[in-house]
């Protein structure tokens, strides 16, 4: 039996109107990525010469404002993780700018910083990785794991670190007493909370979450999504949220960027993108999501063909071999990303003339569902009843 999770303070549902979402667009963006490229060389032959380039990220631009959640979505291999890793400079981009507004208001280009200059940036920007099992050192207790970023930044006082770790454990819904325990004593969802606590140690303003909930079970996933939203509101965090599950992306983000073979093909506010997509690829992605309602059994439309090879993409629009709307120009001219409506960017020659299907009406969602005692948005679930703790093999605290 894993240690129990303390319930979060009562959650307020967040209003949906633009000004109540917590996004502050009045200031300069917190993060602005301009023309980011990352090309990986393909080595071949026995001299290991470069015989080609994988254009994993190819001219990507986007902004993240204070308090905003921007999601990157797209099929496997489209360059989401590579983009995220370039932003935090886990890898060096091939070209482009990663403009980040520091706490003092100065804007720095993270892509051009020297290694030594990165450390202060990593106070402000933190990454949460997908695998809650792989990313925690099994030989360190929570105090060391969560307090480590403080130590690295020069906080030598153990008491200070303990105070901060206790505060963080509270924040992510774990008991402060657990700080002397080791990761194996925790369930998958609790480990992901630990990873989140560690990312928050230095009070970052931007959190990059790469598939942070993908490996988790639905009930745990819901807990972590709630936690991420709660923290965003309370700490005014911004997230760059990388995911492939469109239901989750729809739930959490203010804006969404859809990537295809290293490029952003559509970027818009979440509602606009889901209800009125303007890129055929976005529309195809939405059509493929299985609706969780047996009364709405539609014909499931996949996309014919395969994702283009990023080492040898087709000419013109990369999507043209799979696009049902492709015309002659699509085969030769790469479509640039254009603002076709205020705040709605699309890379498609035919964006204005096409009317594409989105997710459709919200009827199924609005139909009242049977009451689930203790599991409604208004009433947060009661604390778990105390379960007799079985003989523990955990490392004693």
């Amino acid at each position: 039996m894993a240690p129990e999770t303390t319930p979060l303070p009562a959650a307020r549902p967040i209003a949906r109107s633009a000004d109540a979402t917590g996004v502050d667009e009045s200031r300069a963006p917190l993060l602005e990525v301009r023309n980011l490229r990352k090309h990986f060389p393909i080595k071949g032959g026995f001299l290991q010469r470069t015989v080609g380039l994988v254009k994993a990220v190819d001219d990507v631009s986007f902004k993240v404002f204070d308090g905003e959640i921007l999601s990157l979505v797209g099929e496997s291999g489209c360059g989401k993780t590579t983009t995220a890793r370039c932003v935090i400079r886990a890898i060096d981009p091939t070209s482009g700018e990663v403009l980040f507004r520091r706490a003092d208001g100065d804007v720095v280009d993270v892509a051009k910083l020297r290694d030594k200059q990165l450390r202060p940036i990593w106070r402000d920007m933190q990454m949460i990785f997908q695998d809650p099992f792989g990313s925690l050192n099994p030989r360190k207790n929570l105090l060391d794991i969560i307090g480590e970023p403080m130590f690295v930044q020069g906080v030598r006082s153990r008491q200070k670190r303990m105070d901060r770790v206790a505060e963080l454990l509270n924040l992510v819904g774990l008991r402060p007493e657990y700080m002397h325990r080791y990761p194996h004593a925790f369930s998958g969802g609790q480990r992901q909370r630990i990873v989140i606590a560690r990312a928050l140690t230095l009070e970052p303003r931007l959190v990059i979450a790469d598939e942070a909930v993908s490996a988790l079970d639905v009930s745990v996933q819901a807990q972590i999504l709630n936690l991420l939203l709660d923290l965003q509101r309370r700490l005014e965090l911004s997230y760059l949220f990388v995911a492939h599950d469109l239901s989750i992306v729809k739930h959490i983000s203010h804006r969404v960027a859809v990537m295809y073979v290293g490029k952003v093909v559509e970027l818009a506010r979440t509602d606009a993108l889901f209800t009125r997509p303007k890129h055929p690829y976005t529309s195809a992605l939405l059509a493929a999501v299985p609706v969780p309602d047996p009364d709405q059994r539609a014909a499931l439309q996949g996309l014919p063909g395969e994702v283009a090879n990023p080492a040898a993409p087709p000419p013109g629009c990369y999507f043209h071999p799979r696009c049902p709307f492709a015309v002659e120009v699509c085969k030769h001219e790469p479509p640039p990303l254009r603002e076709v409506e205020p705040d709605h960017f699309v890379a498609c020659h035919r964006a204005e003339e096409l009317t594409l299907d989105g997710i459709g009406e919200l009827e199924s969602a609005l139909r009242p569902r049977p009451d689930v005692p203790g599991a409604t948005p208004e009433a947060p679930p009661p604390a778990p009843p105390d379960v007799p703790t079985p003989p523990s093999r955990e490392v004693p605290s």
Partner: protein
């Protein structure tokens, strides 16, 4: 450059009712599969019962570790040490031709796990699409050779005939240039094409039941849609029953006729897909349904969650396995007695004391 696989014609897929489907071809009763280890006994499957009717699509849902894979591997007798079926019945009734009486009636739980009998049934009568896609094909042989071998294991025919049949199956699942792909190795195929090859192999002996363990979890949503559509079309054309595992409720809603909800090695509730989604009766089913965000639900509100976490497999709670997390748990009852699975005649049996007062006879001993 990749060729475009032919997408099966997009069709809607009606939910079928059990009353139209005849007697079950598979009846699992009181199945218990335990793993006995030094640290203790993991009761991975601890009293599971469900039926599969001819041509029916049965979906099994539940969170990670609840015993879904172990239950289906037990049916196919693929459980290895330290695991063992310790109780229960797995009645398989091979349908006779043209709806005649079953020509074979057999409790698979009694067969020697390595014997010829079960090897004939596995692959021939009941085919498996395993959870790990790489486990289906050996990397050392072409997919064509492996399908030919599978066909000839169950049906003595010439290599040339088996080859023709294999290519026909590859074509049927929408594999582009099947003659060429016959000579490909599984690692040369993309995720979507590999999944098609696995389905072609599983279908090569016209199984009465296709068992698929998370057939779409490892693939992208666009490819998933194609594979689901393919399964629907093949099901309609061959009439095979399909039993599949998933934890995606969207996939369940789109594919299943009948749903089995598992928690900690036991079935909590089962019933027709519409009843499970619209009138769930078990507190766990209800909580599970509410905790998933959908593209149709309101954005950025707090999602309902299930309190607590899944217990460690070695430390199962006494009584109803869900009681430590259940908002409706009744102290003195739910933490003491194990609720039995009872059908009140609605076709939606549920194991919960909110709905009846019948406890399991051996109470989990």
């Amino acid at each position: 450059m990749q060729q475009t696989p032919t997408v099966p014609e997009a069709r809607a897929f009606a939910v079928r009712s059990r009353t139209d489907l005849g007697e079950p071809i598979l009846s699992v009763r009181g199945l218990k599969t335990h793993f006995v280890m030094d640290e203790g006994t993991v009761r991975a499957v601890d009293g599971v019962s469900f039926d599969v009717h001819p041509g029916e699509v049965v979906g099994i849902v539940g969170e990670s570790g609840c015993g879904k894979s172990v239950a289906l591997k037990s049916v196919l007798r693929l459980i290895q040490k330290p695991g063992r079926i310790v109780a229960g019945e797995i009645m398989y009734r091979r349908p006779g031709r043209n709806g005649a009486r079953p020509e074979l009636e057999l409790d698979l739980a009694t067969l020697p796990p390595l014997g010829r009998r079960i090897r004939q049934i596995r692959g021939g009568d009941i085919a498996l699409i395993p959870q790990e896609p790489m486990a289906s094909f050996s990397p050392l042989h072409t997919i064509g050779d492996q399908i030919v071998e599978a066909i000839r294991l169950h049906d003595p025919m010439s290599v040339a005939d088996a080859r023709k049949l294999a290519i026909a199956k590859l074509r049927e699942v929408g594999m582009p240039s099947p003659e060429q792909r016959f000579r490909a190795y599984s690692w040369q195929l993309s995720g979507g094409l590999r999944q098609r090859a696995i389905i072609a192999m599983a279908l090569s002996c016209n199984p009465a039941i296709l068992v698929a363990d998370e057939p779409t979890t490892a693939i992208d949503v666009t490819t998933q849609a194609q594979v689901l559509q393919l399964l629907r079309v093949l099901q309609q054309e061959h009439g095979s029953a399909i039993v599949f595992i998933t934890h995606d409720l969207g996939v369940i809603a789109q594919l299943a006729d009948h749903v089995v909800v598992m928690y900690l090695g036991r079935v909590m509730e089962q019933g027709p897909v519409r009843s499970i989604f619209h009138t769930p009766r078990h507190p766990y089913t209800r909580a599970l349904l509410q905790s998933v965000p959908s593209v149709h639900s309101e954005a950025r509100v707090q999602l309902p969650t299930i309190a607590g976490g899944i217990p460690h497999p070695l430390y199962r709670p006494p009584g109803c396995p869900f009681h430590p997390r259940c908002p409706d748990a009744m102290p003195g009852t739910c933490d003491v007695r194990v609720p039995a699975m009872v059908d009140d005649g609605s076709g939606q049996p549920v194991a919960c004391f909110l709905h009846h007062d019948v406890a399991e006879a051996d109470d989990g001993a």
